[in-house]
Structure formats: C-alpha cells, structure tokens
Symmetry: C2
Subunit: 355 residues, 2 copies
C-alpha cells in the first residue's frame, strides 16, 4: 500500500465535495490500486489546518463542520493557523490540489513542483496567468488540470492522449459555458434575452453578477488552457472574447444591468433570426487553431456537432491530423460541484499512480 | 531519462503503424516525460526477434521491411527465432503490447503481470476469454486496453476515471461498429441492405467475410469488455448479439452469402419503415446495465444522441449516478490502423509514466 499525501487548497462547494469523495473512495482505491490518499493539510482563505501528521477522519470531519458553519478552518483549536498554505513546510513530496478560486497561486505551486511535488487544479487562474508560470507548472508533466475545462468531462486527458501519440491538433471548437449554452437554447426557443437571463439568474444558473458569464472571460481562459496544452505560446490577450453586452453597460451596478437587460433584446433577436434564415444555430463558440483563437457568438451549420447541442451541455470537437475528416467529439454537463470534484479526484488518482 | 522496455506482439496493419508512431514520438516523449521507449522484442505469428538488448533503429527497420515483403521476422538473420514470444526470458519488467489478433494469449500475459510486467492491448480476445483471466490481467491495474473499444477514442479511460472517482454506471449505450453504422446510414438513405452490403464489401469497409461484422460478435466482445470494466462478472454468453442474417445463411460460403443478400432486403426495409413511422432512427446498439446487456438493432428516439449519428462514427453514451439526467457522450471514428495504434501508444505512455 502506497500512502499519498495531499494538501488541499480551497474548501468551497467543490472543495468540500472533493473531501467527501476522497473519503468515500478510500476502500476502492486501496483495493484497486493499493493507494491510500491521506490529507496532510487543508486550507481556506483564512489559513491552514495541519497537525504535522496525516489528518484523522475526525479532524477532517471537524474541518467540514467548521466550513458548514461558515467559519474558517483556522478557527479550529489544535494545529490550525492563520498562515497561508504556502508557508507549510513539508518533509515529503505531496499532491497540492488547488480547488480555490484565488488568483496568484502560480508561483507558489511552481515552487512546489520544482521541489518534487505534484499539482492538481480545478482553479483556472494559475494556468491562465503568465506563460512562464504555466510552463513551470508543466515541468516534468507534474500538473494535471482536467476540471479546469468541462469539469468532469474528459477533455484535457483526451487532448493529452492525442498529443502523446504524436497527433497534431488543427482545430478545437467548443461550447464550454453551461450558462451561455442555456441562454442560446432559450433564445432559439423564442424567448427574449432579458427574460432568459433574468430566469437564469433567479435560478442560480449564472454567477451572482451575470456579466461574469456574459463577458466571455471565463470561456477565453478555458480556450487559453486548451491552446497552451497544445503548445501554443499565447497569453489571455491573444484570445479576445466577444461580450454579450456593450462596454457602456459594464459600469452599471448589477441590479441596474439586470433592470436594463431589455436593451439587449433587439440585437439578439436579430441574430437568432439570421441563424434561422440560413438554417443554422446560434452558439457561443471558442475556436482554437494553431493560427489563432476566437471566442464569440457564431452561426454554426445544422450538420455541425455544435448545432445538436441543447441546454447547458458542453461540447468539444477535436479536429487533428488523424481525426481530419470527422472530429473526435466529447459532450455532456460541464459544470457542477460533484462533477468538478470527480474530475479533480480522477486526476489525483492518475497522479498518485505515478508517484 | 527512464528507459521503458517494450515487447510488441503483432506486426500487422496496426502493429507496423504502432512501430512507426513509437519511432516518430521518441523525441517528444523524451522531452515531455523524460521517457525512452525501447523495443526489447518484436513478434509475429512466425516467431520473435530479440537480440538480448534493445533493438536498434536499423534492426527495427529491418523487421518492418521483412513484414512489408510478407515474410515473418523469424526469417531475419541474427537473433530471430521461430520460438513464440511467450518463451522470451527477460531480466526486467517490460510492457507487453498485444496488437495481434490471436486467441489464447490471456494466460501467458497474466503470467507476465504476475511477474511484475505491464500489458497494453488492442487485441480484444485476452479480455473476452475467461473472467478469471480478465481479473488476473487487471491485478494491480497492470493492463490498459483503450484500443480494444472505439480504437483511439477515449472510452476505457473515461469509464475508468468515472469509476475511480466513485461514480456508479447505470447505463452505457453504444454504437461501436463502423461497418454496421455505415449500413444503418445507407438503409436510412433508402438503399437496400444487399446494395449497401455489396458496396461496403467492395470498398473494403467490411471484414473479408462480411458475416464477421453482421454476426454482431465483435460488438458483443466490446460490450463484454465495457461490462467487465464496470466490475460485472459476466462471460460472452451473457451478451447475446442479434445477427443481421438468419441461422440458415451461416453455413453458406462467403460468395453464396453475398449472392443471396437480397433475401435480407425485405425484413430490413420493414424495420427502416417502422423506425421512420415513429420518427426514430434504426441503430445497432449495445446496451450495458448492471442488470444485463443486449446487442441488436434498435429504434432510438430522434432526440437520443445515437439518432444524430451518421456513417461509420462510433458513439458511447454513459449514464451514471452523477451523469444521471444528461449523459456523458464520446463520439468519432472508432476504427482504422492509425487511430488504433494511437490509442495503444497513449496507453503505453500512461503505463510508462507509472513505471
Ligand atoms: N463549480 C463548478 O462547476 C466549477 C467547474 C470547474 C471549475 N471550477 C473551479 O473550482 C474552483 C472552486 O470552485 P467553488 O465553486 O468551490 O468556489 P467557492 O465555493 O467560491 O470556494 C472557493 C474556496 O477557495 C478558498 N480560498 C479563496 N482564496 C483562498 C486562498 N488564498 N487560499 C486558500 N483558499 C482560498 C475559499 O476560502 P473560504 O472558504 O475561506 O472563503 C473557498 O473555500 C474555482 O476555481 C472554480 O473556477 C468550478
Ligand atoms: N484495425 C482496426 O481498426 C482495429 C481497431 C481496434 C482493434 N483492433 C485490433 O488490433 C489487432 C490488430 O489488428 P490488425 O488490423 O493489425 O490485424 P492484422 O493485420 O491481421 O495483424 C495481426 C498480426 O498479429 C500477428 N499474429 C497472429 N498470431 C500471432 C501469435 N500467435 N503471436 C504473435 N503474433 C501473432 C500476425 O502475424 P503475421 O504477420 O505473421 O501474420 C500479424 O502480424 C486485432 O486484435 C484487432 O482486433 C484493430
């Protein structure tokens, strides 16, 4: 039995679900792979909980309980501290699992990689910062990041397997925002954008400020991660995203923006009509080719895999030297805490098997 | 740099393409993973070529040249022999790659696993023989077999990642015969089965005897591999496949069968009409659930992912505890020498990273 130490950064929706999944799969992983995942430390924005040894099940449950009450784990008595996780001194190589939403972790994680640890990410930000940091994280293929794109869908693993076997990616086309996919479906069904948007907001399908979805910035970050995985030396500025609202509406308060959403209806109705006139479908598409990337609303022809998409599902289409005439397509729900945590856990297992 | 020894069994269409891909990716794998794949031995049905050390590039090219001339590698001067690969004595653990189409390898491969080697398969037969042999091959997760189902498509890796993260598979539905998918498309386009079949045979889309496709046996073997991967303790007899021809036509010679293919036309025309009447599509579908598996022609509703399938593409739909409402779907070309070899190579790389 090999014992694999884990340091988990982030105990939000995804992080807490991940802890539960790690605990729930312990027996199966022991039996199937003779692996034992042990938590060396847990961290949230308030600090870190580490006792110097593997946390016991009781200590882990206490951490979950504190979070459920809205407290930082730094408030738990015993070996918790208000120090950030980056100050942890470890005697052994571990898997650092970043399931936080925090910026600025790339340097600290790259230092851990240089010291022999491995990294697993659901947090997109360390990969969409500087290219040098991306490359430092990829040193010795030390970092896995399936959940950053498509949550639990096998996107990065698929792309990496294509590249490992010497294939050349010529084009990736993807719909990778569940929220924007949902809006496209509602528009197609004849709803106005403002109605669809307010409903989605009320149902909690959007970020608290829906402009965080509508800006396309999150899609652009994912497109950058795909491009960098292909070896393209780009930064986020190389991937402009077409926003769903004009610059003038960026300065409004959230409530003002939602109140004035009707101002967007006419132009979206026109684009839906345009798509219908040519028998196509309106989709918010990220396209990555070796020549460049783009993110925006596109009319896709009826026979394109993206046209068959409905609702919040994500879809990824890989055209390569070997998949030249017909693409390799992966499709399904691409968000949600349980699916995201499952993507992270599968990465942890794959990484642990190599240690 | 880690040197990973490989013994490759089979130098047919897939095997020779695999050798070329291994040679072509050497530099990239060295750079990216600090891995060096070296051939300890190559084997075909005539015997084995091994010099006691890693085969040089010249020795490998000589083996490819012999195969191109239709000779066994056992005819090459030097350290080749008419002995089977299973008689090879190795001092080290290696990856045994079975890209042959031969039955009866399961015991010998399982012995190598027990001795600490790893296995990668494109050959379905070692996995669809006895359950005990399947389990012996899976000991310590020693065997990978992506290419046995869907060629280069990420099917086994996706399924394994779902299982590793503690998900529960409730239903797999798949179209996994390119040939039968092509025939379904032609039927749907209004062609008779006999016309479509003779054209597919003439174009080399079918096995030399098309009944080897039409029996459904190959699809049943793939369904068995999916089921066993899910932990279901079944044998091939638990997965009856519906053949496309009546028992009376099984005893004909190949040419007699093709000459009499019109006898099948009426019943297929009726099934196509039946599908059209309910607005559905006719597909040859394998269904695997914990309660049982079936393989046969089915009418799938228009909104089912399988209905959108065209031509020879494969499609796999995974419904699980976490992908309960909307499935995870993988789709694309599921056959061909280059894609199959690429699936094998990606498995070799994943295995090598663990050694
Ligand atoms: N949910 C999805 O569908 C999905 C899909 C793909 C990827 N992701 C990514 O997964 C990550 C987590 O998502 P989530 O929904 O769980 O977010 P969340 O609920 O907002 O949780 C974020 C967690 O990160 C912690 N955190 C913030 N700054 C930190 C710091 N400097 N050091 C340590 N911990 C810090 C927070 O601490 P406090 O508890 O103290 O606030 C919180 O526990 C995000 O990067 C997100 O983009 C999510
Ligand atoms: N082609 C595809 O699209 C595809 C897709 C998925 C999986 N596969 C699987 O991949 C495998 C290879 O396919 P293929 O198209 O390359 O077949 P193939 O062209 O018929 O080649 C088979 C090879 O296996 C060798 N062989 C036979 N018996 C052997 C034995 N006892 N020991 C060692 N070698 C032996 C043959 O030797 P000789 O050269 O001496 O005859 C030949 O080199 C098959 O299992 C097939 O089902 C193929």
């Amino acid at each position: 039995m090999r014992s694999i130490p884990i340091v988990q950064i982030g105990l939000g929706g995804v992080g807490r679900e991940l802890v539960r999944q790690v605990l729930a799969t312990r027996e199966a992983l022991a039996k199937h792979y003779r692996l034992s995942l042990v938590y060396l430390a847990l961290a949230d924005s308030g600090g870190v909980r580490a006792t110097g040894a593997a946390l016991t099940r009781d200590e882990i449950e206490a951490a979950l309980a504190a979070k459920a009450e809205g407290r930082s784990i730094a408030t738990i008595a015993g070996k918790s501290s208000g120090m950030p996780w980056s100050s942890l001194a470890l005697r052994e190589a571990a898997i650092f699992v970043d399931v936080s939403a925090a910026p600025g972790h790339e340097m600290m994680l790259a230092e851990r990689v240089a010291a022999g640890s491995r990294v697993v990410l659901a947090n997109k930000l360390p990969l969409s910062a500087g290219l040098a940091q991306f490359q430092a994280l990829m040193f010795d293929a030390a970092t896995r990041y399936e959940a950053t794109v498509g949550a639990g869908l096998p996107i990065i693993a698929t792309l990496q397997a294509l590249l490992d076997s010497g294939d050349t990616v010529t084009r990736i086309e993807a719909a990778m925002s569940g929220t924007l996919g949902y809006l496209c479906s509602q528009l197609e069904a004849g709803e106005s954008l403002s109605t669809a948007l307010r409903a989605a907001h009320a149902l909690g399908y959007t970020e608290p400020d829906p402009r965080d979805d509508l800006s396309g910035a999150d899609v652009a970050r994912k497109a950058l991660i795909l491009a960098r995985t292909c070896g393209l030396p780009w930064s986020i500025n190389d991937i402009p995203a077409e926003p769903w609202f004009p610059p003038a509406m960026a300065g409004l308060s959230r409530d003002e923006f939602l109140a004035r959403a009707e101002e967007l209806d006419a132009s979206f109705a026109a684009r839906v009509a345009e798509a219908r006139a040519v028998g196509g479908a309106l989709r918010y598409v990220a396209t990555v080719t070796p020549q460049g990337a783009s993110v925006g609303l596109r009319i896709v022809p009826a026979e394109h895999p993206l046209a068959s998409l409905r609702g919040a599902d994500n879809l990824f289409s890989f055209t390569t030297a070997r998949y030249a005439e017909r693409p390799l397509v992966v499709r399904g729900p691409g968000a949600g805490q349980a699916l995201t945590a499952a993507g992270v856990l599968a990465d942890i297992v794959a990484t642990a098997r190599e240690m």
